[in-house]
């Protein structure tokens, strides 16, 4: 065949593909466009359209491959350049699609390893934010069909059919669901019918017929009696035993806390002279926890603050200033008991001593933890760290901006925009505000 015939045939396939694309029969469209390119690799329109369709069904990497090849074949006046730019330049878009693809592939690996629940969890997370990612929705619906969760399966199949109207796999799955639900309905009807059927089984001589009424009344009366007994027992514990015990324990706890405070003082906990005091603190806390069965919330809270303080001292001592800053940010200074017996050293004083360093350096250290979490795509954790950084330094505009970015990555546009606006309003001349304006499209 002459070259021009191939080109003509390629164009025919392209035209057919275009018709399918307009009808949203994307599976058929892809098939036509691949044939078009097989006949003529320089069919730029077919290649660009193929990229578009790949992008539409969630296969962003495949789309980029086609567009880059297209630009290489025809560098000038090529719409593929605009497509590539729009994916690359839209903030967070490339990272999001890369993450979605990774999760899908991870889910496939999990299924191979037999971790079905994990696979479902990963796929559901992607499908909820990327309902056009066909393979994810199909796989998820398959898993739900196998679990007989037909309504869930249907939901994700509808996503597929919204994007690719005549997707064969989705239609087959829908048909399977219809058949399965019809069978289930039939079984339920049969079961209901049998329940009402009277049994003609004959009674033998040594069987005793128990009157119906007697059984029923014994049943609910027994339950009632047991319930009353439980109530009386619970009331007696609550009104008689617990107040006495609580008073005794509170008194004992307060004594223990005072002892703890004295131990802090005794071990001379100035930051510059740290010794094994944090170990002793920890041992004391462990012993307290073991001896207590019930702790009122306030006391438990105070002990938790001591634990954080001990942990912070530990981290500071070993030079892990990032962790020390992180723990410092978690301490609620209002709940730290200021036990000052005249020696001039107290838990609050220790806390205040590190405050100077923490407020000047700590926020950057904790923000770096947030950055690590962000780069690992753990956006919820990143937000927690950025909040801690802001607690240490409320004027950290970059932490606020990064918090907004993290919300954006989670798809929470409302919160993201609110925090971007806050950055712009409070710190208009900062680098963070410039970035925030870009994000908001100003």
């Amino acid at each position: 065949m002459e070259k021009s015939r191939y080109i003509r045939l390629s164009n025919s396939y392209y035209n057919q593909g275009l018709i399918y694309a307009k009808q949203r029969d994307l599976s058929a469209c892809i098939s036509c466009l691949k044939k078009a390119l097989y006949l003529n690799k320089n069919n730029i329109d077919a290649r660009n359209l193929l990229g578009l369709v790949y992008y539409e069904i969630g296969e962003a990497a495949q789309a980029l491959v086609q567009w880059v090849i297209s630009v290489n074949l025809k560098p000038d006046d090529n719409v593929a350049q605009r497509y590539i730019r729009s994916v690359r330049d839209k903030s967070g878009e490339l990272e999001k699609v890369a993450d979605d693809i990774k999760k899908y592939n991870q889910a496939l690996m999990n299924l191979k390893a037999g971790n079905r629940d994990l696979a479902i969890m990963l796929l559901a997370r992607v499908a909820d934010f990327a309902p056009n990612y066909i393979n994810v929705n199909l796989l998820l619906s398959l898993l739900y069909i196998d679990n007989e969760e037909y309504s869930n399966a249907e939901r994700y199949l509808k996503n597929v059919l919204d994007v690719d109207r005549y997707n064969n796999v989705a239609r087959n799955y829908m048909q399977a669901i219809k058949e399965a639900t019809a069978v289930n309905r039939k079984k339920k009807r049969e079961k209901k019918r049998l329940k009402n059927t009277y049994s003609h089984r004959s009674i033998s001589d040594d069987e005793v017929i128990i009157p119906k009424g007697y059984n029923d009344s014994i049943g609910w009366q027994t339950v009632l009696n047991i319930g009353i007994g439980l109530l009386i027992g619970a009331a007696s514990i609550f009104f008689i035993y617990m107040p006495a015990d609580r008073a005794k324990m509170t008194d004992s706890h307060n004594k223990e806390l005072t002892l703890l405070g004295e131990k802090l003082n005794e071990s001379n906990l100035k930051i510059n002279d740290l010794t094994n005091s944090s170990d002793e603190l920890k041992a004391e806390i462990d012993r307290l926890k073991e001896s207590m069965n019930t702790v009122d919330e306030e006391t438990a809270d105070k002990i938790a603050q001591y634990q954080l303080l001990a942990g912070m001292i530990d981290a500071y001592k070993s030079g892990d200033y990032t962790n020390a800053a992180n723990l410092y940010a978690m301490i609620d200074a209002d709940k730290l008991i200021d036990i000052d017996d005249g020696s001039g050293v107290s838990a609050k004083a220790i806390y205040n001593e590190v405050s100077g360093y923490m407020t000047s350096e700590g926020d950057s250290l904790v923000m770096s933890l947030g950055d690590s979490a962000y780069n690992s795509r753990n956006y919820e954790l990143a937000i927690q760290y950025y909040d801690k950084s802001l607690k240490l330094n409320p004027a950290n505009s970059m932490a606020l901006f990064k918090k907004a970015l993290s919300y954006k990555q989670l798809g929470d546009v409302q919160n993201a925009n609110a925090f971007f606006e806050e950055v712009i309003e409070k710190y208009p001349n900062s680098e963070a505000a410039s970035s925030a304006r870009l994000e908001r499209g100003y």
Binding site: L39, K41, V65, L108, L111, L138, I145, A180
Partner: protein, 48 residues
């Protein structure tokens, strides 16, 4: 009815963004014209 294991075999991993570059380099973008030209070249070589 759907055979889960058979259906699962249809699903192959998606190309990742980090693999785009490799994929472009390895991409066989020969069309039928290139294949025929290659065959003709081979034929001509064998003849002469």
């Amino acid at each position: 009815m759907i055979d889960f294991d058979e259906e699962l075999k249809r699903f192959i991993p998606s190309l990742e963004i980090s693999e785009v570059e490799d994929s472009i380099v390895k991409n066989d973008i020969n069309d039928i014209n290139d294949i025929i030209m290659e065959l003709l070249r081979k034929q001509a070589k064998e003849q002469y």
